[in-house]
């Protein structure tokens, strides 16, 4: 057998080589200086399930808006257009991977872990007063997506990686490196590149286990690194591994947070996690 490469693995996944059309159209409309709110609302309204999900989200405690949000265009003004695009991306990706067979990895558990990491990254970004916190939600949500690709393309080998991790008490990503010569972070980074998603998202996903190597977006990588650790510590779902991944001190220092902010981060995560799971995972 020829050795598998990250690029080869992605190229074999025909079904997911591009993002859903609605995301692409929305992205174009948001980037078009001549576009306005009504055009964006019109694109969204074509997908009633997506619109309903966005309205539920805008009405949830995550946005703590004092009165009820009844229309998609109102939801856009509250959430923001760029943030909305990120939320549509989050929803689209979950849809894209909804029906994959699940003998080794439970999709429910995988997305629970991804949503928890997304929410935690969003909470950390809020504590750091980042301007667009939804992009951190998406980064957390997609950080382990490479694992789904490995699982889809090499299900047996992926099962062996889980076995090796358990046997040697290794974090799963280290077992992946031992068996394949690369890990899910590298696969995820390549998929983000293939999908033409922003460079910050590519690097954040690619460096979430080695945030000290992020050259251009070290804060993004540090945020998702810590969020992944917290989500695993509270065992909010699992993407296949059963232990908390190793902690890189520089990532925590990079974020400039204090230890006494951690309880608040954990509280906020617990508060929004269940609601987000309900909204993003309902059929």
């Amino acid at each position: 057998m020829t050795p598998m490469t990250v690029e080869g693995l992605i190229a074999r996944c025909h079904a997911i080589t591009s993002l859903p059309l609605i995301y692409q159209r929305l992205d174009e409309a948001i980037n078009d200086p001549y576009s306005d709110l009504s055009r964006i609302a019109a694109i969204l309204s074509e997908d009633s399930a997506l619109s309903a999900r966005l309205l539920r989200l805008a009405n949830s405690a995550m946005f703590s808006f004092p009165s009820r949000v009844e229309t998609v265009s109102r939801a856009i003004t509250i959430v923001g257009t760029k943030q909305l695009r990120d939320l549509v991306l989050a929803t689209s990706v979950i849809e894209l991977f909804r029906d994959i067979p699940q003998e080794v990895v439970s999709m429910e558990s995988f997305w629970r872990h991804s949503i928890a990491t997304g929410i935690c990254a969003r909470v950390i970004a809020t504590c750091r007063r980042e301007a667009n916190v939804e992009r951190f939600y998406v980064l957390g949500l997609l950080h382990d997506i490479g694992r789904l690709i490995i699982y889809l393309q090499l299900p047996e080998a992926f099962g062996r990686a889980i076995g090796l991790a358990a046997e040697k008490r290794l974090p799963l990503y280290q077992a992946e490196r031992e068996l394949f010569g690369f890990d899910h972070a590298a696969v995820g980074q390549e998929l983000m590149r293939k999908w033409k998603l922003p460079a910050a998202l590519q690097e954040g996903v690619g460096c979430h286990h080695a945030p000290q190597l992020a050259a251009r977006y070290p804060e993004d990588a540090a945020t998702v690194h810590i969020a992944d650790i917290v989500a695993n510590a509270f065992r909010m779902g699992s993407s296949g591994g059963s232990t908390v991944p190793p902690f890189v001190e520089q990532a925590w220092e990079r974020l400039g947070l204090t230890v006494d902010q951690l309880p608040l981060i954990a509280e906020q995560l617990a508060l929004h996690y269940r609601v987000a799971v309900d909204i993003f995972m309902e059929h």
């Binding site: 949830s60 190793p246 509280e267 617990a270 508060l271 269940r274």
Partner: protein, 108 residues
């Protein structure tokens, strides 16, 4: 138990929507936000207990306490626990597991 009214914090911020089915996880959320009582619809029954993890830990069986420590060891096997933030994270997870075991005993 289903919430009969929205639960808000002192500043009026929405914590949980009316109609939410109250689960064990919600009890922890409400505790952390200092909410001591909520309005519920449907049949009466036991009041959800509200307390901190230290008083709760004292009420747990030695087996439960051993199980909690075993679970912590399993989860953090790959992590060096010398940094203060990891020490704090382990303490939070211990509180969470303590509450979980306590609620499980309560809902049995």
């Amino acid at each position: 138990m289903v919430l009969g009214a929205d639960v808000k914090d002192l500043s009026g911020r929405l914590l949980l929507n009316a109609g939410t089915e109250v689960q064990q996880q919600h009890l922890k959320v409400l505790r952390t936000w200092g909410v001591s009582g909520v309005e519920v619809v449907g049949e009466g029954g036991e009041e959800p207990a509200v307390g901190d993890s230290h008083t709760v830990a004292a009420a747990l069986s030695p087996e439960a306490l051993t199980a909690i420590e075993g679970e912590i060891e399993k989860r953090f096997v790959a992590v060096t626990l010398s940094h203060p933030v990891m020490v704090a994270l382990v303490a939070l997870v211990r509180d969470d597991l303590t509450m979980h075991y306590f609620d499980e005993a309560l809902f049995k």
